[in-house]
Amino acid sequence: MLKAFEDAVKEFGVENICKVARTGCIGTCSVGPAVLVDPGDYLYQCVTLENAREIVQKHIVLGEPVKRILYNNEGYFQKQQRLVLRNAGKIDPTRIQDYISVGGYFALAKCLATMTPQGVVDEITNSGLRGRGGAGFPVGQKWSLVARAHNTPKYIVANLDEGDPGVFANRTLAEADPHAIIEGMLIAGYAIGAQKGYIYIRSEYPLAIQTLQKAIAQAKDMNLLGDNILETQHKFDLELRFGAGAFVAGEETAILVSVEGRRAQPRPRPPYPANQGLWTKPTLIQNVESLANAPLIVLNGWAWFKSFGLPNCTGTKCFSLTGEINNPGLIEVPMGITLREIVYDIGGGISNGKKFKSVLVGGPSGGCLPEPLLEAPIDYDSLKKVGAIMGSGGIVVLNENSCMVDTARYFTDFCIEESCGKCTPCRAGLARVKEIFDRITTGEGELNDIDILEKASEYISNASLCGLGQTAPNPILTTLRYFREEYLEHIVDKKCRAGVCFKNEKAEE
Amino acid sequence: MSAKKTRVATVWLSGCSGCHMSFLDQDERLIELAKKIQIVHSPIADVKEFPENVDVTLIEGAVANEEQLEMLKKVRTRTRVLVSLGDCAVSGNVAALRNSWNNSDMAVLERAYKAPEDLQAAIPNMVPKLLIKARPLHEIVKVDFYIPGCPPSADLINYVLTELLSGRTPSMEGRAKYG
């Protein structure tokens, strides 16, 4: 494809006004391959080799966009605010020069030249940025905890172990703008006094790994990593660590033991990683999306950042929008946007003319919300109130063909497989809960089962050691709360309105 | 035959009758009990059909075959307060050890009737059909109270009965001893 464009550019002799560049994911995966023409942000969808010549000829040479294959969903980009994904699709992620040309590493330079470490921490604290990994802990507070810890050396672990099925925001970020992550880590390192960082990345993301490796090498070449960064006293080194297929390794304490090369079993807190983390040294663990926000805040000031989102929940959040929807893809929206806007304005509504049934927010341990809650604004507290979580930003839209009981069963099954097996509620409890689901979805459920489900779910969420177990019952609790009638239908009438369950019986009939 | 006496029944499913022995081990306390209760059905009495309108039924043993399953369901409809007596009724216990095997019903029969070196070995056809798994009572019907133990001590049985007869709820903290 790249070659087809290069050939066309040569053919029409417009090399001097037009440069063909590769770029990271633009976020509209459903209509790929996609081609973006700047200036003007013209996005072409489902481009074929034949189209390449046409686009160059008409658009570049004659200045007339080829309307026929333009991506014509205005809502998709209009309602978004791209801060973290500012460069996605605009720069070549394999060239550090591209990143620098759009203001990259300026924030780092500003820190090193004009700000004290405490000043950087204050800037972040004032911005109101909260952790994007799901729990929403204030980032500035976390930085200052590690900054204040006495022990040295200190470490930074960037969490890119995006284990949530149905989520690909971090992957896209790493593939499209790796230097934003690196710069964020450098700034954090300066602020908290850490000289060593690790990026813990899923081994299932080979392209992201490659891109990051290249970016790290380039940064080292330009003296942005290593000793005497930008000719100052500041030192920082960066290594990649690879996950190996364990969802639980994304948990704050589990990621530490995993980086240390052990079984990723979480440990109770305290001690908190801010005091005793990697090799019992103070450690900052931060999701890469949070880190990628840092350069923007430093460069533009906390007041600027606060102009995005809500007063008590600032900035934007990336979501992976998938499921039965017209425009799936990676989106970045301001905090406070409603689910309805995401599903209908950005997502373009339900695909194939089906009826909306539920939207799952927050990944496998998120909540399944019904139609009336589409008005709910996206922020940590509102989502928690309705039984969902921000999680790592997965939004899956379900239509009338999905059975909510089966959906809850699927997520429970996922959490069982991914449980580390350490604590009783999560290991022994979830497995028994799943058996109850198996009974209900094969027609052997009893009304009493609903009580047992509720009781066990409450226990598991309150007594589990780590976030995985604590949030695992969310899909069960929310489906019981909002779609209870479907459970009753399964148990009393032995019916599944979506026609998903009772498959075995049907086959025998 | 005072009409005020509580109508009590006991039932013996898949168990060793040890719980009934323990019941009898209440010894002289049985005389006190007899003033308040009337045994209307029991393996140690000669009543063929399980009566209607029973106040309290103690069931020993797990549910392991279809005959027992029918019996349990019938007992439940005719009893106000159902009590699981002993580990087999409460947890399946020894009868449920076979549950670890797939198709445990057949495995058990083969082992019992065919494994002995007997030329005439055959699975008899008059035994009731085994269920695939031996189950505790509460997995099939609603159970009101549980007296675990293998066997439960006579003291515990007496305590629970006394509490129930005087309209109190027995507390099992410190008393629920399995095995």
């Binding site: 364990a246 991914e418 097996g421 009783t424 290991r427 497995a431 007594a463 050691l465 | 505790p136």
Partner: protein, 236 residues
Amino acid sequence: MTLNPMITLKIDGVQISVPEGTTILKAAKDNGILIPTLCDLEGLTPYGGCRLCLVEVTGSPKLFPACITPASPGMEVTTNSDRLKDYRRTAVQMLMAERVHICAVCVANDHCELQALANQLGVDHVALERNFTREQIDSSHDFLVIDRNRCILCTRCIRICDQIEGVHTLDLKLRSKNTEVIMDLDESWGNSCSCTSCRKCAKVCPVGAIYIEGEPITQTKNRDVAEFITARRNRK
């Protein structure tokens, strides 16, 4: 030897003074308040897995594992609320339903911590459907036997093997509900090269999962062994 400064806290309404750094579990135990636990054992590093020792701390909606959470000055701890009792009963039920726990035929009958806890808490039945696992019993060792169907994955055996005996023969394999205790590269016990047959694993097993063939269970069990050895080692 310098002692940590003393701090004062309240456990179940009782004013208690302990050296700073003491866990809530130990602070309570030293003052006659027994908080249930199945994985913790004095002399071994805390694990925090069984979740039976969860307690409430006034001012926090969260529950805290007493075996790990250090006592802090002014803390008000509740160890025995109705909610906690209810949660503990649920935990015991989940453990009893997870594998084959049939006390009547178990070698540890009457000397089992799970059984004792069920008794103490009044777990008179298991509401969840019981799972019947079918792991092979490994009796290949001369006298040590492991029946994984009875294992509650408390990892006491693994920790004592590593921290006290120092050979780390035992560890866990796999994860989630498939987690199992293994010897070396998942060998049968008889083929384990590193096992020193020290029996400490059998001594501290809270249930009847590891036992010594032909030896009365009363003779085998000695749950103070880790504490005892640690104390001896720390002697000047």
